[in-house]
């Protein structure tokens, strides 16, 4: 029987959650026995070519590409997991929520203390660049999410235990220390 396929994505996140996934250490060998990792920044596979069992989402949605990506994941994965605070509630990127976009752009490209080279005072505006959204959205405000694994980043043990439980149908029983919001 072929192994279940797992996809991962980093949307408006910092890749810390992916790093934490690698923090499962030698259990990564067991992980590749348990699943095939398909579309993911880890494998650099960029497209879905078949239905996946599990999609793991790091980060919320801050631009049009994030939204598109997330919707693709929903379409192509049986189970979607929000991994980490950014996917769950927007996280650090969402600290811009409530501040008008114009003010954010001005700060980033015109008036910020580290802006020195933008003498022509231009905002990046290439067709290739995704559009910024009015605010950062938690993943579950864009598509249905099945499970939530909090943490910044989520503890490796949480990721591991939850994944194993999900994939093997075994019962999950996590100790108190493993679920944290920081």
């Amino acid at each position: 029987m072929s192994k279940p396929l797992v996809a991962t994505a980093s949307l408006a996140g910092c890749f810390g959650c992916h790093m934490s996934l690698l923090d499962i250490d030698e259990r990564i060998l067991k992980l590749v026995e348990l699943v095939d990792i398909g579309k993911s920044p880890v494998t650099d596979i960029k497209t879905f070519t078949q239905q996946y069992a599990v999609g793991i989402i790091e980060g919320g949605c801050c631009n049009s590409e994030n939204v598109h990506n997330l919707q693709e994941f929903r379409k192509n994965c049986d189970i979607l997991i929000s991994l980490g605070e950014c996917a769950i509630m927007g996280g650090l990127p969402a600290m811009r929520n409530g501040i008008p976009i114009e003010e954010c752009l001005n700060e980033a490209y015109l008036e910020g203390p580290t802006v020195h080279l933008n003498t022509e005072k231009i905002f990046p505006n290439d067709d290739e660049l995704p559009m910024l959204l009015d605010r950062v959205y938690p993943a579950h405000e864009i598509v249905k999410i099945d499970y939530f694994l909090p943490g910044c980043p989520p503890r490796a043990d949480l990721i591991w235990d939850a994944l194993v439980a999900l994939l093997t149908g075994k019962e999950l029983e996590l100790p108190y220390e493993v679920v944290k919001y920081d």
């Binding site: 509630m89 927007g90 650090l92 600290m95 938690p138 579950h140 909090p150 999950l172 108190y176 220390e177």
Partner: protein, 243 residues
Amino acid sequence: MERVKFQIDNKDCEALYGQMLVDAARDNGVYIPTLCNMQDVKPCGSCRVCTVKVNGRYATACTTPVACGMEIESDTEEIHEIRKALIELIFAEGNHYCPTCEMSGNCELQALGYRFGMMVSRFPYQFPQREINTDCQHLIIDYNRCIRCKRCIRTIKDKKGKSYFAFINRGDKLEVTMDKEMAKTMPLKVAELAMENCPVGAILLKETAYRVPIGERRFDKKCIGSEIEETDVKVFMGELNNE
């Protein structure tokens, strides 16, 4: 003092007549979760996290005095659900970016989130636009995290008994503020107590931060309430979703 008999979740208990239910429960080894309440401080009943059923009717355990023969439901699925929803509401109402918060690990709101197995708030996050007040020489008040529990107002007073803190505005505009003159002269000791008494990361000392390392903070390994009653908080698969 007259002692009265009552029951919590069918457990026979005894307490002093007129004791508030949270205190009466604590004396009998039963933990009723609280957030706005502080031991030995006049209760104000603002957060509702201590909701129980007294003889079949909802009541806040921090403001309800115990009486003879009361039958209290606390550790039931229904009450658990109500409390969890209240906690999720508080998270969605403010800006609780725990990863950036100095109080993380020592915060009572967060600790309740852990205890109740909150993985995500079921309510839409509001992302309100809130300011930070730096009037005081020793403190900042970060309105992003204030839960308006009134603990600062109720407990932080000068020698004459005048509060350093006060509420202004009404409804969803309600805010804690400091008397500007008093803020300027607040002694460091008082400022430290203010930070300690705030259950969340809304009152913070200036010029110092993150003094306790991760792993040694108040709720890193111990669940809130475990000092009153042994609990074995575990998370199960079903709790990782928000249904």
